[in-house]
């Protein structure tokens, strides 16, 4: 492969230094109506370094979204542990964690500005402090001209950016993205990917991106975790070795083809398994 060799990643991250540490994580869904319990995930381990961009790819139904839900504290783990900044995650979403879902989750009754300001308003932040922060987030995401528009007037890509802005305003140190561009067309996807990279550089946040797009994973990430068919486990972790200052033009880089080829080699067998297992 030779890809790892391009940039040394330094010491492997230890559990103490890790921003997010996952150990032996398992999720088993109890069987409904007399069916046997279903192991959806794990056991798996994962360490995210501060400021790292990590992507998770895997066949459908492998438990990618379940993994994100557990990391966010939105659903419980059946076994194992998740720590964020050294504190265990359980039950609630920890302070400093932002989540963006695949499905449009903008609040249709609020303007773009009010959507972005939602979290700060709830914390009773004075309007004088709130305004510059919201405007900054909207500018970062390219929505400044649409501050007074309502989501119903915007395209799908713009609504997704509203959701990202709503998360960014809270200055999260860890951003969890669950296929945020899944419903968008290919060109918009690439451009949104570039914006995400810019945000990541400017905010310094750690990002975990769930995606089913090999290209997206290969272009955006520092590291890519490839998951097996259910129960999802990491079968490969690929270090891309991209420079921090990068964008979608990397698609022309020969290394890009090599990475997607490597992901697909791992994933093809698993996707076939998942397809056959699908009801």
């Amino acid at each position: 492969m030779g890809l790892h060799a391009q940039i040394p990643l330094g010491e492997p991250v230890t559990a103490q230094a890790a921003h997010v540490a996952v150990r032996g994580l398992t999720r088993i869904f109890p069987g409904a109506n007399g069916r046997p319990p279903l192991q959806a995930l794990g056991p798996l381990d994962l360490d995210l370094a501060p400021g790292e961009f990590f992507s998770v790819v895997g066949p459908s139904g492998c438990g990618k979204s379940t993994l994100l839900d557990i990391l966010a504290g939105l659903s419980p783990a059946s076994a194992g542990s998740v720590t964020f900044e050294g504190k265990p995650v359980a039950g609630t979403v920890p302070d400093g964690v932002g989540v963006v879902f695949q499905e449009d989750s903008s609040f249709p009754w609020l303007s773009v500005f009010d959507n972005a300001a939602f979290g700060l308003r709830r914390l009773k932040t004075p309007e004088a402090q709130l305004r510059p922060r919201v405007e900054e987030a909207l500018a970062l995401i390219g929505l400044s001209d649409f501050a007074s528009a309502f989501p119903a007037q915007l395209s799908g890509g713009m609504r997704q950016r509203v959701c990202i802005a709503r998360t960014l305003v809270m200055r999260p140190r860890l951003i969890l993205l669950d296929e945020p561009f899944g419903a968008l067309d290919q060109q918009t996807k690439l451009l949104m990917g570039d914006e995400l990279l810019r945000l990541w550089r400017e905010t310094g946040a750690t990002i975990l991106l769930i995606t089913h797009s090999l290209d997206e994973a290969a272009l955006l990430s520092d590291r890519i975790g490839v998951m097996s068919a259910r129960p999802g486990r990491f079968i490969d972790v690929i270090e891309t070795g991209w420079a921090r200052d990068r964008d979608s033009r990397l698609a022309a880089d020969p290394g890009f083809g090599a990475i997607t080829a490597r992901i697909w080699r791992q994933l093809r067998e698993e996707s076939l398994k998942a397809m056959r297992a699908a009801p």
């Binding site: 409904a32 839900d69 939105l74 659903s75």
Partner: protein, 260 residues
């Protein structure tokens, strides 16, 4: 609000059992209330059920039930048939629907009970007045629900029908009807309730016969026992029919959801 909305399945047995518990609790409350205000104001559940049992042997009560059933069936047939026809027409033709919807909504909102003198003047005291009263209550909701259902049919179905070269009748029969069945069934259910309400109101104010008339007479003579027994009978019958239609409604809705 716990996230990841926990699956709210309590199984098949728990549902009816809960309803039984609810009925029991209501009956207990009723008994307490009856004890509190006294039997001259409100008869208790045990007395009422006993009295209602006796009523079934009473020829006048049986005649009234029969009268009401006849009037209601006729009114329901009229309300369902014309409501469906009007709704289909308005749903299929965009402009007609836009013109008619506010008018229908307005008609729906009128306290139709106000109109009883008009109905009386036109139909006189008797069967036609009761049927008319029932039907005017039921037609509009059936039409509104049907119209919304027909409008909600996804355009891709119409394009599919065209690509399969179905004629207008075949399209209505094989595409529109099955696609909007869930909405239509909901409309028929609501129409059922309101037609029954209308028929009973009609009997109360514009008739010398039927259960509605018995109710108003019990009111006038202050026959609390009879009034409460009639109320119990009506609630039981209406709830039974309502539950049945609700079950059909849900079954059809699931079918529609499955078809996507």
């Amino acid at each position: 609000m716990t996230p990841a909305a926990k699956p709210l399945k309590t199984g098949r047995i728990a549902g009816p059992l809960d309803t039984v518990v609810l009925v029991g609790a209501s009956a207990a409350l009723w008994a307490l209330a009856a004890r509190w205000v006294g039997p001259q104001v409100l008869t208790g559940p045990v007395d009422t059920i006993g009295y209602l049992g006796g009523l079934f042997a009473d020829p006048e009560f049986r005649a009234s039930v029969w009268e009401t059933t006849r009037a209601f069936s006729l009114a329901l047939a009229i309300a369902w048939a014309s409501g469906l026809a009007i709704g289909m027409m308005l749903g299929a033709h965009r402009l007609t629907g836009e013109v008619a919807e506010p008018i229908l909504t307005a008609l729906y909102s009128i306290p139709k009970i106000t109109l009883y003198p008009v109905i009386l003047l036109f139909f006189g005291l008797g069967m036609p007045a009761r049927v008319a009263f029932g039907a005017i209550h039921g037609i509009v909701p059936v039409a509104l629900f049907t119209m919304a259902a027909v409008r909600g049919v996804r355009p891709v179905y119409f394009r599919t029908a065209r690509s399969l070269r179905l004629g207008p009748l075949a399209t209505a029969r094989h595409i529109i009807l099955p696609a909007c069945l869930p909405g239509i069934v909901s409309g028929l259910r609501v129409g059922f309730s309101l037609t029954l309400l209308g028929t009973l109101i009609g009997e109360m104010f514009a008739s010398q016969r039927g259960l509605g008339h018995m109710v108003i007479r019990a009111m006038e003579t202050n026959d609390v026992r009879l009034l409460i027994a009639l109320a119990l009978f009506l609630v039981t019958v209406a709830t039974g029919a309502g539950a049945l239609l609700l079950a059909v409604d849900r079954r059809v809705a699931r079918l529609g959801a499955g078809r996507g």
